[in-house]
Amino acid sequence: MFKNIEPLKIYSITSKAPKYVFFIFILILSIGLVEALILSPEDYIQSHSVRIMYVHVPSAWLSLSLFSIIGVLSFVILIFKNKNLPLITKSLAPSGFLFSIIALVTGSIWGKPTWGTWWAWDTRIISMLILALFYLLYILSWRIFQNKKDLNNITSIISIVGLINLPIIKYSVDWWSTLHQPSSINLINGSSIHQSMLIPLGIMTAAFALFSILIFLMKYNTELIKIKNKGLDRL
């Protein structure tokens, strides 16, 4: 079942891919920035401040998606005791953490002109802050614990517990009365955003996803070389 996720097989791809991913990322990001900052129209209520959406929303989406992947893979790690998957989850965490911080900071910047405040103790914002803390805890636990078996169990449990927070983030705007606006993009019911804003949002999301792939590939390679460095000591 896990034959295709052996480090050697993955390394043969991850070692060559970063340069291509980097090139595509720069290209897509450049197009996205021109679309987001210049070509896309201003909102009739929020005016130009709506442009913050093009960095805030993709960051929030990706931080949630990456934590979902880490959480699901952690289930597999706990059940099947797979030794290769922890390397993948560990390599996904840095970009996920960064995206959660970007979502919080850009949300705060967007909040000032829109709500008149930098911060509100709102359910969506608090649950997003909790997600960032889960990411931090996950990353720190890799540094704190040394025993490999304990480490895999502890990091898996942290991410599985953190999964509970994800539906709270997603549905907080529907379950509680909050300052944060409800979701404007719905895969089932369609989107309330006009195409002229949806296209730059899509391009920026693609660019951010490429960045997380780039960081994942580089981090995975680093982790693998670290393991091989330890292996050389034992030769």
């Binding site: 480090p7 050697l8 390394y11 043969s12 070692s15 060559k16 920035l33 987001a36 900052l37 210049i38 201003e42 005016s47 130009h48 401040s49 442009r51 913050i52 960095v55 805030h56 960051s59 840095p94 970009s95 960064l98 911080i101 970007i102 900071v105 850009t106 910047i109 967007w110 000032k112 002109p113 960045f211 780039l214 960081i215 580089m218 981090k219 390679n221 680093t222 693998l224 070389i225 670290k226 091989k228 460095n229 050389l232 000591d233 030769l235």
Partner: protein
């Protein structure tokens, strides 16, 4: 035109600071991960160069070592 892009009806300070923060965060994380990778590659190359001849042969016979050496951005032994 340029003034419109910079000031954005008074929202420029918010928009540009949000975008600047994002791009700066990307650059910082990329640099940190790149430095970590280069450090590990350097360490690997140094360790490999200092290995005894018989150990180099046994290491080279393992495909993963060849892969790392071939793809190292520092030097190719």
């Amino acid at each position: 035109m340029i003034n419109d892009i910079i000031y954005m009806n008074g929202y420029g300070i918010y928009v540009w600071s949000a975008f600047s923060f994002t791009m700066l965060s990307f650059l910082t994380l990329y640099t940190i991960i790149k430095i970590q990778m280069v450090k590990e590659e350097l360490k690997f190359n140094q360790k490999f160069a200092n290995l005894a001849a018989n150990k180099v042969n046994s290491a080279k016979n393992q495909k993963i070592y060849r892969e790392i050496l071939n793809n190292s951005s520092i030097s190719k032994i």
